[in-house]
């Protein structure tokens, strides 16, 4: 059973998607470790270390995603999590921006998969299978 850490980063309290992600991934056979809303980068990293996770799925809905995710990959590497897959999704930037540009920005920051508004957790299931086996 693969383990994934999920949660909502920063000062973000959007809880609905997080609860659904928890349910859908559990139903699909993952061991879900949910750090919940209002979680810091450290909360995600600590949970991933403790549970030996295969992937970290960050949600950011409220617009500050760009600031909140800065140097996250670097910190993961520092913590010895270089092989852990990093996903991010929700409404990860402020406003309606060009999807391709946003994706590139987050890929450059070290995320493996970047999801745009309107992409639901169900859309990530095949990717998770591909990436985690």
């Amino acid at each position: 059973m693969k383990t994934v850490v999920i949660g909502v980063i920063g000062a973000d309290v959007h809880a609905v998607g997080n609860k659904i992600i928890d349910h859908v991934l559990s139903e699909n056979g993952y061991n879900v470790v949910n750090v919940g809303v209002l979680s810091s980068q450290e909360d995600f990293i600590n949970a991933a270390i403790e549970t030996d996770a295969n992937a970290i799925l960050i949600s950011s809905l409220y617009g500050h995603g760009e600031m909140d995710c800065k140097f996250f990959k670097e910190k993961c590497v520092e913590a010895g999590l270089e092989d852990v897959k990093l996903y991010v999704g929700g409404n990860i930037v402020v406003g309606k921006q060009d999807n391709a540009e946003v994706e590139e920005k987050f890929k450059e920051m070290g995320f493996d998969r970047v999801y745009m508004p309107g992409q639901k957790i169900e859309d990530a299931l095949t990717h998770l299978k591909e990436d985690l086996g």
């Binding site: 309290v13 919940g36 760009e66 600031m67 406003g95 309606k96 309107g118």
Partner: protein
């Protein structure tokens, strides 16, 4: 132990010193109460929330207000002026950014700097505390309609001080409604105390002859909240505010989706807020209602979004709400541009104006629904008063602790999170998992029957999957979720 008692002036003034010390902008001279009072007394009627609301109420009109907030003062002014001119907004807001909401003023400062550097807003709102009285007053002076802070701040004491001292005549929030949907592990004891302070400040101004408006945040999590639950919270917050001396209160409700249930909720909310205020000894509080256009996930297609905005406006107007908070075609993507925001306002205003001469007339369906909501609210209020042993503040704290009242899909650990709502066959929000909520057996039976009928018609189980389908449904163009909603979102 916190109690629902008016804070003695001396205690209030003592706490006030600490509050004004929380960030450097707390030292502004206009935060001397006598200065603030002078300033507020000079505000003309057309920029005074309480006045404009009273006028609208007497005319039976539904006025409109957008959400809007960006990091920098000049940009925020530009935004508000645009919404006033192009959107014909009747009220303007500063939606406060999320760092400020969590009192992370240093993060907000970084956000302001970064926004200046990149020349675009990296904050999701207006950091009023960092901008201080000078910045906030500059905004107020740049517009011609009343201005309100809209946020989601558990501890908004400093924010509240600053905005009122800047001439902003309304503040959204409350000790419950700005905790449960907006926090994770801040206690209700704390947030109720913080908001008693905010209300006490308004009560202070009231004593000086200045009527400011207060607005509990009605929609809570905006996600399938049964009307009786959000109405109960609104009523409790109105009572808490009135206790501190607030005399002008706008209770809110977020669109659920079924026309009759929504109009019933609005009518029940207004009637019961008034009657509970009287019951608790407050006979001179002026009550209005605010309807929030659909607060859940929005459709991404702009025409569909405008259509949903139009439907919401129809419901608000037929339900005779005094104010409506508008959404935009960008809702499902991100903070709207000023153009998108003004467009949402125009679409909304068109219908609030077109339909101003109509109300939804009484039908059996409507009066039944009003009766149902009122009965549930009465039972919840009764339970709250009971477990408070006579004190409302203790009552609501204990009621949440024991799950007698419960809010679905909330981030806060202060609510049990056991209640599970779903829609019945015509889209009314009902409950199928009650947790420990204080409903009696006949109410539960009513809800269960409604939902059993749906499960039967849709040939499926009453389950969490049904709830997820309901959450996804409106964005897909359905009210009652269909099997497999998650697959339909790419239309």
């Amino acid at each position: 132990m916190i109690q629902n008692k008016k804070i003695p002036l001396e205690d209030f003034l003592n706490t006030r010193k600490e509050v004004l010390n929380q960030w450097e902008t707390g030292s502004h001279p206009d935060l001397k109460l006598e200065n603030a009072v002078k300033k507020l007394k000079n505000i003309p009627n057309h920029k005074n929330f309480s006045y404009v609301l009273k006028k609208a109420k007497s005319e039976g009109r539904t006025l409109i207000q957008p959400r809007a907030g960006v990091a920098l003062i000049d940009k925020h002014i530009e935004l508000l002026q645009f919404l006033e001119k192009e959107g014909h907004a009747d009220f303007l807001p500063a939606t406060i950014d999320s760092y400020t909401r969590q009192n992370r003023y240093q993060n907000a400062e970084d956000g302001i700097k970064e926004s200046q550097r990149q020349n675009r807003s990296l904050l999701n709102g207006f950091p009023a505390v960092n901008h201080g009285v000078d910045g906030c007053e500059k905004v107020f002076n740049a517009i011609n309609v009343p201005l309100q802070a809209r946020h989601g701040t558990p501890d908004a004491r400093l924010l509240t001080e600053i905005i009122h001292a800047s001439g902003w005549t309304s503040n959204e929030g409350g000790g419950i409604s700005y905790n449960i949907p907006y926090a994770k592990n801040i206690s209700l004891e704390d947030t109720i105390e913080y908001w008693q302070y905010c209300d006490r400040l308004v009560g202070y101004y009231q004593e000086q002859g200045i009527e400011l408006n207060r607005e509990p945040f009605g929609p809570l999590t905006g996600t399938l909240v049964p009307p009786s639950i959000s109405n109960t919270v609104a009523i409790v917050e109105a009572l808490l505010a009135a206790t501190q001396g607030v005399k002008n209160i706008t209770v809110g409700y977020g669109q659920g989706g079924n026309l009759v249930q929504d109009v019933a909720a609005l009518r029940a909310l207004e009637e019961q807020t008034n009657s509970y205020l009287k019951q608790f000894g407050f006979s001179d509080v002026f009550v209005t209602t605010v309807f929030h256009q659909w607060m859940g996930g929005f459709p991404s297609d702009e025409n569909e979004a405008t259509s949903l905005i139009g439907y919401a406006s129809t419901v608000a107007t037929l339900g005779n709400a005094t104010k409506m908070i508008t959404k935009t075609t960008h809702e499902s993507f991100g903070i709207p541009t000023k153009e998108a925001n003004a467009q949402g306002l125009r679409a909304s205003k068109y219908l609030t104006n077109l339909l101003k001469d109509q109300v939804l007339s009484d039908s059996k369906e409507l009066t039944n629904e009003i009766t149902q909501i009122k009965r549930e609210v009465d039972i919840l209020m009764h339970a709250i008063v009971r477990v408070g042993k006579g004190d409302l503040a203790q009552g609501i704290i204990n009621a949440f602790k024991s799950g007698l009242i419960d809010v679905p899909f909330a981030p806060s650990e202060m609510t049990a999170g056991k209640i599970m709502p779903a829609r019945d066959l015509d889209g009314k929000i009902r409950v199928f998992e009650f947790g420990d909520i204080a409903f009696d057996e006949s109410i539960k039976e009513f809800h269960r029957n409604k939902l059993k009928r749906r499960a039967k018609k849709q040939k499926r189980e009453l389950s969490i999957q049904m709830v997820i389908d309901d959450i996804y449904a409106v964005a897909n163009g359905n009210l009652v979720g269909q099997k497999g909603e998650e697959k339909k979102h790419d239309n």
